[in-house]
Amino acid sequence: MKNDKTASGALGLDVGTSRICVAREENGGYKFRTELNAFVTIPYSKMTENVLKRENIPHSVQDGKIVVHGNESEKFADLLNVETRRTMTGGLLSPSEPESLNMIRQILGNMVSEENGPRKLCFTVPAPPVGAQDSLTYHEATIRQILSDLGYEVRSINEGLAVIYSELEASNYTGIGISCGGGLCNVCMAYLSVPVLSFSIPRAGDYIDMSAASVTGELANRIRLVKEESFHLNGFFNDKVHQVLGVYYDEMIRTLVQAMREQFAGAKSLPRLGRPIPLVLSGGSTLPEGFRDRFEKILKEENLPVPVSEVRIASEPLHGSAKGALIAAVTDL
């Protein structure tokens, strides 16, 4: 926590595939606001528009339709029994969603436009996916432009590094930060706050949901609900959905750890480490009970070339990246 109780006015923004989280300082602590990075269109009617206005539900009217975005979009999609549309896929702006740019501009504007003061903002960007090093440029430039247009002095931070800034102050920001979100698992290793290796793999929560849905015949949305409400990785499964989720969680973790082993082993330069370093896991996909234990077990099996002192879950797994981005923004003040 910051010692002085004065809010800096800076913002940390975690731009994730499924959720966007903004962090700000308040009363000596951190305050978070999370919105779904999704939207849904509903048929226009004056009555519906009035209801949305009265309830302060974020929406806009476009081409004779009402577009509800953010958290409320999922509720409306559920009422209308349609799937929400996503502005991003696989950690980046979705190339197959024509409204992605327009909608993410509205969602971001709705979340960050109320700030006064220094107006410094740091937002997270994923690390390059393994084997796709050049795919980030457009995404980062676009988000930067949107936020700059809103009047912010903008910088970006690697998502895994943000986790390190948020969680590893005790080891002088030395260690490995991993963010397992909806579209990607981001990995970053830092030594004394300096990132030395980062990458991502395109297997995360959405991959688990879709894979499990294709096997069970359930909707991905329902799989996600089951996953968030009752799933745990303890090896005993009540039904097929849980069993399938367990299989795909295992696969995701194993893929992640294998990628870590390969990336660390093949890195061109790494710092001299005098001792094992901590590893912290963050993001919504790390929430099932037993995730940490399973990850640690597979980590030991894979014999990571970097010695790890401990594996732990972030203190605030859903807010870790935004908090780290905020710390990075405040540090620049």
Partner: protein
């Protein structure tokens, strides 16, 4: 362990020999590496003395340069001279001890975190559940029966003419007011029933008795055109009312799939009845393996022939309503324990009931007690949707239900006016 070797820095692939220029070069490299390491130790120690994490981070970012501490990761430890390594390892150990003394211990594990979602959404309609219908086609037909590729044999000895299956109105679910009626034709689903007839013990010596009861049931079904199909206790499948004609099986009823809401299902759904009796609560109706097998291959045939989604194969208890008191469950056929899984379908009991969430129907404790727990999942999901919808509109649930009921009355009137003379909505 990677990078545990301290105090040396050698370019990857360099072979270090004991004498001359190589030794001098090795020394320069080692000295530079050692100096960097000491510098890092000092930086780390100073950072550890800064209590404010932001200030500490600011200090580190200002002070540390990535060029300072990186080395080729492929540096093989075996390239170091063993004699030197012993000496340098001692220095390194001392340095590491100092570093370790200054660096705070790692924080405790927090693996006990439990996730609580911000809000629990009402269950989306979980369809299409179950498997895709396999390809089934007719391979033979005679005056008395039809045979299909999956072994299904449909007896036609009790077949009778019903009323023509005329186009029926359906309502688009994406229309919040459910005001957009479209006219569809052809079966859109299956409603499973029970004949509620007498049940002789399923024993060899009772075969004659069972046959007599079965024939009587089929006579009655034919007279009333009650169902399109009957599966008798021996698993024989009888078509009573042809698919292109309407059986009087579902009367006042409501269902909704992903796209459409259906009101009064005689015209839109086929009726398949099992010769058995519904049991209350969790008790299983008496049903033979032959009946389950026949129902499965019959369902497969109908689903494939008419492209019926698995989610539209439901029980009469799930769809039956009583408009006079606006309660569901006027009929309770298969109110619990319908073998959806064995029929090749998902557990459709989990689907919310459109009668409740779209049209404001209620249910009473009698219905709840007479149904199995599996159907309660659908009831619960329906209630959640109503509550959520009401809260989104800022209305009390009761007021919102009144609106839904007005919607139903409007649709019911339109449906009745569209009905042709041969369609019967009363059972």
């Amino acid at each position: 362990m990677l990078l545990s070797e301290a105090g040396t820095k050698v370019e990857a692939g360099t072979r270090v020999e004991a004498g001359g220029g190589d030794r001098a070069r090795w020394w320069r490299v080692w000295h530079k590496g050692k100096a960097t390491q000491v510098r890092m130790s000092v930086i780390e120690w100073r950072a550890g003395n800064i209590s404010d994490p932001v200030e500490r981070l600011r200090f580190l970012r200002r002070t540390v340069d990535a060029q300072d501490f990186t080395r080729p990761a492929t540096e093989p430890a075996t390239q170091h001279r063993p004699r030197r390594r012993i000496m340098h390892a001692g220095l390194a150990a001392a340095t590491l001890f100092l570093i370790a003394a200054f660096v705070a211990a790692p924080t405790a594990s927090n693996s006990a975190y439990r996730y609580h979602p911000q809000f629990l959404l009402p269950a989306p309609t979980p369809q299409p559940a179950g498997q895709e219908a396999p390809k089934v086609w007719q391979v033979d037909f005679t005056r008395d029966h039809e045979t299909y590729s999956n072994g299904l044999r449909v007896e036609k000895s009790y077949e009778t003419a019903g009323n023509e299956r005329i186009p029926y109105p359906v309502y688009r679910r994406r229309d919040p007011q459910l005001e957009t009626a479209e006219m569809h034709s052809g079966p859109a689903g299956i409603v499973y029933h029970t004949t509620e007839s007498l049940m002789a013990p399923f024993e060899p010596e009772e075969t004659g008795q069972m046959r007599r009861i079965g024939n009587a049931v089929l006579d009655l079904v034919r007279r009333n055109r009650s169902y399109n199909y009957v599966v008798d206790r021996f698993g024989r499948v009888f078509r009573v009312v042809p698919d292109d004609q309407i059986a009087n099986h579902a009367g006042m009823s409501i269902w909704a799939d992903e796209k459409y809401a259906y009101v009064n299902l005689n015209a839109s759904f086929l009726g398949v009845s099992f010769e058995t009796q519904t049991q209350r609560g969790a008790d299983n109706p008496e049903i033979s393996p032959a009946q389950i097998h026949s129902a499965r291959i019959l369902t497969d045939m109908l689903r494939y022939k008419y492209s019926i989604p698995a989610g539209n194969c439901v029980t009469h208890a799930q769809v039956s309503v009583n408009p006079s008191n606006m309660r569901i469950g006027y009929h309770t056929d298969w109110a619990g324990n319908f073998p959806f899984g064995e029929i090749g379908l998902g557990d459709n009991y989990r689907q919310p009931l459109a009668s409740v969430f779209a049209f404001g129907f209620d249910y009473d404790s009698i219905f709840v007690h007479s149904t199995g727990r599996r159907l309660w999942q659908g009831l619960h999901a329906s209630d959640e949707q109503v509550t959520l919808q009401a809260s989104l509109l800022g209305m009390p649930v009761a007021a919102y239900k009144r609106l839904l009921r007005q919607r139903y009355e409007k649709i019911l009137a339109a449906t009745r006016s569209a009905a042709q003379k041969g369609e019967t909505n009363e059972e």
